[in-house]
């Protein structure tokens, strides 16, 4: 019997395991599908990680390396090249691996750290032929950075998520011509700094409110057509622009990976694609926790680390039976697309509870309003809010203790 089984050895799993060790758990197992720890960070060779958590700028492999070293001499067991097939509400974990074959292991607590997957061309229904040369941005990143294969010479990037922006620069440095990045929304979903240092630095045009409406070619991509879209995101006839490309990359969003979570009967949030969790990242099944990109897609690994340390710490102390507790529901009001956590148990909050959320559109100077029964209980001001940038507020314990039933977050933009 393990104290804790962590599913996934990426940044979330590494931080959760170390935090659980720090909080007193001793029999900890991290299960990783790849043949080494580190997860997606291993292929994210660019810098920009760690500014919040380590107060210095690291590359992905450096960030992962620090957490991998933190597990040295802790006795935390690591099983790589292993796939988890099922988790039960009783916390039995079924695993297959070349090393151990088929195994069923039990734990007092489980932390779900499976990360996320990329949306594909199929997910956005892009018309056209299906030749070679069409990749998700992350797959292309794996080919180039880990395997050392170049994916193409003349590249069109669809979607302006951070991975797509990073790959625009990466492929340019490796000698490809990146013709353009096209984004269906009127704003980019990537970080501003990436638009500057990945596109503008290399004079790569960004077409907002545009999308790819045709991919040509038989054996290999021989071109693509990009069209302007109206406010309902429908292509406007007559605005077609041909691109002479041999490669198309899609960077069109990420989906938390939760097949195991759903099969375990854990309550899901359709807005985030992850589990519904309490303030300590515990799911609807007691003793099963979720964090990182499997819970909701983060922009910054630093926040994944912070969230996963919380989940790991709480999983280490989840073993005590408790009487039913008072719960507050967090509601996403005007302008807010989701919150994590979705529920808070005020009795478990020592000083304060952090709340992550995303907004539905770009806002200028705004107030984030927290209301309870129609009455404002707290306000936070921001100069700018955007869907591509996860926001965070902190609610003090005193406020949570006074609140009844539910709290609602909403956005109010100042009139200019």
């Amino acid at each position: 019997m393990y104290d804790l089984i962590v599913i996934g050895g990426g940044p979330a799993g590494l931080a959760a395991a170390r935090a659980a060790f720090d909080a007193g758990s001793r029999r900890i197992l991290v299960i990783e599908r790849d043949h080494e720890l580190g997860g997606i960070l291993n292929q994210c060779i660019h810098n920009g990680f760690g500014l919040h958590y380590f107060h210095e700028e690291l590359t992905g492999p450096e960030y992962a390396g620090r957490f991998i070293r933190m597990l040295k001499n802790t006795g935390v067991e690591v099983l790589t090249d292993a796939m988890v097939l099922e988790i039960t509400p009783e916390k039995q974990v079924t695993i297959v691996s070349r090393k151990n074959g088929y195994q069923v292991l039990s734990a007092r607590a489980v932390v779900l750290c499976m990360g996320c997957r990329e949306r594909t061309r199929g997910a956005i229904g892009t018309p056209g032929r299906r030749p070679a040369g069409i990749f998700t941005a992350g797959a292309a990143q794996y080919y180039v950075n880990i395997m050392g294969y170049m994916v193409g010479r003349r590249v069109l990037i669809v979607g302006s998520g951070d991975i797509g922006l990073i790959m625009a620069r990466r492929l340019t440095l490796e000698g490809a011509k990146v013709l353009a990045c096209v984004e269906i929304m009127p704003y980019s979903s990537g970080l501003n700094r990436n638009i500057v240092q990945c596109l503008q630095d290399y004079q790569i045009p960004l077409y907002l409110s545009h999308t790819v409406t045709e991919i040509k070619g038989d054996a290999r991509v021989e071109g693509a057509v990009v069209s302007k879209v109206d406010k309902n995101r429908r292509a406007i006839p007559g605005t077609e622009m041909p691109f002479d490309c041999d490669t198309v990359l899609f960077s069109v969003g990420l989906i938390p990976e939760n097949e195991l979570t759903r099969r375990a009967g854990i309550e899901m949030d359709p807005r985030t694609g992850g589990a519904v969790v309490y303030e300590n990242r515990e799911t609807s099944v007691p003793g099963i926790f979720a964090c990182g990109n499997a819970l909701h897609v983060h922009d910054l690994v630093d926040f994944v680390t912070e969230e996963s340390r919380l989940a790991g710490t709480e999983a280490a102390k989840a073993l005590l039976p408790r009487a039913p507790e008072r719960e507050l529901l967090l509601r996403a009001g005007d302008g807010v697309s989701y919150t994590v956590p979705q529920k808070i148990r005020p009795g478990r909050v020592e000083k304060s509870a952090g709340v992550f959320f995303r907004v539905r559109r770009v806002y200028g100077k705004s107030t984030i309003r927290v209301t309870c029964g129609g009455e404002t209980v707290s306000e936070f001001r921001r100069e700018r809010l955007a869907p591509g940038e996860m926001e965070r507020i902190t609610l003090p314990a005193a406020l949570l203790n006074r609140a009844r039933d539910s709290l609602e977050l909403s956005i109010e933009e100042e009139k200019s």
Partner: protein
């Protein structure tokens, strides 16, 4: 006046830089002192950290990720890529190990960013 987006951290402050009569540059819109420094450098001698990979001769992976151990002039990025592209490493590699000294005469070394056996 020049408008810039600061790239020092993910916050991405929108900066305004105005060149005064005496030639100095006044920066506004920055949330921290690093933004001021970024704008000054960006308008006089823009620099970037370059991250890429080098060839591995043997070992568990075919490529090893590397970075310039400090920012180099933007104008030298492609020259640096060519020089770094000629390097081959042999395992084991340690994080921080210098793989190329003084890239393009900048005084900046290129270092490995992971351990590889």
């Amino acid at each position: 006046m020049t408008e810039l987006t600061c790239i020092v951290c993910p916050r991405g402050c929108r900066l305004k830089a105005v060149r005064r009569d005496d030639g100095t540059i006044e920066v506004t819109g920055n949330a921290c002192p690093r933004g001021e420094k970024y704008a000054q450098t960006e308008l006089t001698r823009p620099v970037r950290v370059v991250t890429t990979t080098v060839k591995m001769a043997g070992g568990i992976h075919r490529r090893c990720p590397v970075k310039t151990d400090g920012a180099i002039p933007k104008s030298l990025i492609f020259d640096a890529m060519r020089q770094i592209g000629r390097v081959t490493l042999h395992p084991p590699v340690r994080t921080g190990q210098v793989v190329l000294k003084d890239v393009c005469g900048t005084g900046i070394d290129v270092v490995a960013t992971r351990d590889l056996s």
